[in-house]
């Protein structure tokens, strides 16, 4: 915030930093940021909810981002979503009850040459099949940390 001169124009940059550090934006963080940058809480909340990249819920232990861009969509992303829904009962934007896995949908990761693409935690995988996805996620579920 100081880097941005504590100005309202630094709001998005600040939220990026907060999310990078804590994994998500909770109400306390939003209150603090709003007060420091001298913007109404409503504006901080408005910005945080406007952009898909920001999340107000804590993420699961692992995240699995399924690309639902056009190329991935026609190359089988819906089948991947189905597999996750059936096997683990979560849709994009949700986290499994045990807090192990968060599933997110992405509007194109730019890896269209490798459609359908999935990001496991931070590692991108291409040409993913429903079986491969199930296997990977089951591994996460059974892993005790």
């Amino acid at each position: 915030m100081r880097r941005m001169g504590n100005q309202p124009r630094g709001l998005i940059e600040t939220l990026h930093t907060v999310q990078e550090t804590f994994g998500y934006l909770d109400l306390d963080a939003l209150r603090y940021v709003a007060a420091s940058l001298r913007v109404p809480l409503s504006r901080a909340y408005g910005v945080a909810t406007f952009y898909h990249f920001f999340t107000l819920k804590p993420p699961g232990e692992h995240t699995c981002v399924i690309c639902i861009g056009t190329a991935c969509y026609i190359k089988g992303a819906p089948q991947l979503l189905n597999a996750v829904k059936q096997e683990f009962g979560v849709a994009p934007g949700q986290t499994t009850v045990d807090g192990k896995i968060s599933v997110l949908g992405a509007r194109c990761l730019g890896s269209c040459g490798l459609a359908p693409a999935v990001v496991y935690d931070r590692e991108v995988a291409g040409k993913v099949t429903p079986e491969a996805l199930r296997k990977r996620l089951s591994g996460w579920k059974s892993h005790v940390s």
Binding site: L11, H16, V47, H52, T70, A71, G110, C112
Partner: protein, 545 residues
């Protein structure tokens, strides 16, 4: 920095690279990184050091080589291109340096995919190390900037760009020279240059690739633009979803500052220019320039009516030039080779080359650059290598959620701004997705409408409510629960959105629907009247997802 000093940097880089008798290049752009090319690079480096060959063989990370479907890609010298390289292949590749290439990994380069391309924007991609400014300089980098600052007036720069006929590569195709001239004439205390790198189109990854493969090219284009229009501050608005592009841009900015190619009194001229990054946060509407400005200012990305155009009243109310990544990336070659050189490439109204992200049901998916006016057939069947898995061609989608789906009858149409618009699609930023007979066009239309609905910023009612209702009707059709009246209403809503929405997102949102209604009307009818989906995508009553 003087022209001589610049040459000196290039010369010492040449000498540094000449010490090595062999160079092995490994693609480290996003496509290949997703298939573990960094592991391949590490394996090669390890093998080189095991053989104590550090002085002889350099392993170089380079930008995108284009054929993303067959990664990880590796080239040796100027000739051999290897595809699907694994870490275990490192010893074999190093063994081959003295003798014949590893035939099992060889990928033919005398095929249309490589032969039919013309590289201007991507000339350095796959050649230079994106994290070394010296390598960029060795390949002619920043010579256009130095020439502009030492020999040309801002007016002459604008003239040269105008002569080239370059048009905005973000999608709308507004003449770049005209835009620059407007900003240069606008009165303001401080002017801004913004590079739009918020590549939100699903199915497009051209800008990402340019930023990851050759980031200095974009900075040089912005610097030349800043000189031409009189700007002192630049922003690159880049998607937070592209961490690798962000990392390389940050490195590039630092390196340029170190060589004083960014900063105050650049090259002893009066040009002072600073560049900062602004991260997007996942909002398609921020590709619209007024929404983008709002976002750079730290607000919700909501468009406002134009005029006033950003050229007059943009960022913080000051005159602002906004161009797309590929547009800026085209500037340096235009200055180096002259506007007339650029203008002889392409068609009468669409000059130069265009980068496309070829994806979907073709054999060779990846990144290609072709002269404007190349036909769709050449794109799909020659460069793309034809349909994958022996499937039948059905449609090609250009322009993302703002574009349209074109059927077989348009295959011989040249790809340029006018032809695409006439056929009911748009050039867009360069996504080109090929669909086969396993795709249902109604379902594709629903997919795009779903996208536009969730990306609508909600400011104007036609877009906010219209996209919702269009999606509802399309959903009904794919569930075989719609009537002929619904089809009529869909058409009506499409016209409404197109004519009354505030910004480009809403105005163009109906395009995928209108183009599929126009060219695949029988598919809509089969869904509505016979409850039949020929592609087998829409199941009766309980469509999955």
């Amino acid at each position: 920095m003087s022209p001589e000093e610049l040459e000196q940097i290039g010369e010492s880089e040449r000498e540094r690279q000449a010490q090595f008798s062999h160079t092995v290049k490994v693609c480290v752009a996003a496509g290949c990184v997703s298939c573990q090319s960094e592991g391949v690079k590490a394996a090669l480096e390890k093998e080189v050091s095991r053989r104590r060959g550090e002085g002889e063989c350099q392993i170089k990370g380079v930008g995108c080589m284009g054929l993303c479907a067959d990664g990880p890609l590796v080239t040796v010298g100027d000739s051999a291109l290897y595809s699907h390289v694994a870490e275990a292949d490192a010893p074999a590749i190093l063994d081959s340096l003295q003798g014949t290439p590893v035939s099992r990994l060889l990928c033919p380069t005398d095929v249309p995919f490589f032969q039919k391309q013309k590289k201007v924007v991507l000339e350095n991609s796959g050649e230079i190390d994106p994290e070394r400014i010296e390598d960029y300089i060795l390949h002619g980098g920043y010579s256009a900037l130095v020439r502009v600052l030492s020999e040309m007036t801002p007016g002459q720069v604008v003239e040269e760009v105008t002569r080239s006929g370059l048009r905005g590569r973000g999608g709308a195709g507004y003449p770049t020279g005209l835009k620059w001239s407007t900003v240069s004439k606008a009165a303001g205390e401080k002017k801004y240059v913004i590079c739009n790198a918020d590549e939100g189109d699903p199915g497009a990854f051209m800008d990402r690739s340019v930023l990851e493969s050759d980031p200095h090219r974009v900075l040089e284009g912005m610097l030349i633009a800043a000189y031409a229009v009189g700007a002192s501050q630049g922003y690159i608005y880049v998607r937070a979803e592209y961490p690798l592009a962000i990392k390389r841009l940050r490195i590039a900015i630092k390196q340029a500052e170190r060589l004083e190619l960014l900063g105050n009194d650049i090259c002893g001229s009066r040009l002072s220019f600073h560049v900062d990054l602004r991260l997007g946060a996942g909002a398609f509407v921020c590709g619209e320039e007024t929404a983008l400005i709002a976002s750079v200012e730290g607000r919700r990305g909501i468009p406002r009516p134009r005029p006033p155009y950003p050229a007059q009243e943009g960022l913080f109310g000051e005159p602002t030039l906004i161009n797309n990544v590929e547009t800026f990336a085209s500037v340096a070659p235009i200055i180096r080779n002259g506007g007339a050189w650029y203008a002889q490439i392409g068609t009468e109204k669409s000059k130069g080359t265009k980068v496309f992200a070829l994806a979907g049901s073709v054999k060779n998916t990846g990144l290609v650059e072709v002269p404007m006016g190349t036909t769709l057939r050449q794109m799909v069947f020659e460069i793309g290598g034809g349909m994958s898995e022996g499937r039948k061609f059905k449609a090609v989608q250009t322009g993302g959620p703002s574009g349209g789906c074109l059927p077989e009858q348009f295959l011989d149409m040249p790809v340029d701004y006018e032809s695409l618009a006439k056929a009911g699609s748009i050039m867009g930023s360069g996504g080109m997705i090929v669909m086969d007979d396993s795709s249902c066009m109604v379902d594709v239309a629903r997919f795009f409408m779903d996208f536009c609905m969730s990306e609508s910023c909600g400011k104007c009612i036609p877009c906010r409510a219209g996209t919702y209702h269009m999606r509802r009707i399309l959903e009904g059709i794919t569930r075989h629960q719609a009537s002929a009246e619904d089809l009529a209403q869909l058409q009506e809503l499409a016209d409404l959105l197109r004519n009354t929405s505030l910004c480009g997102l809403g105005q163009s949102a109906p395009n995928p629907v209108m183009s599929t209604l126009r060219y695949f009307a029988e598919e809509y009818r089969a869904h509505v009247e016979q409850h039949h989906c020929a592609a087998g995508v829409c199941k009766n009553g309980h469509k999955d997802e």
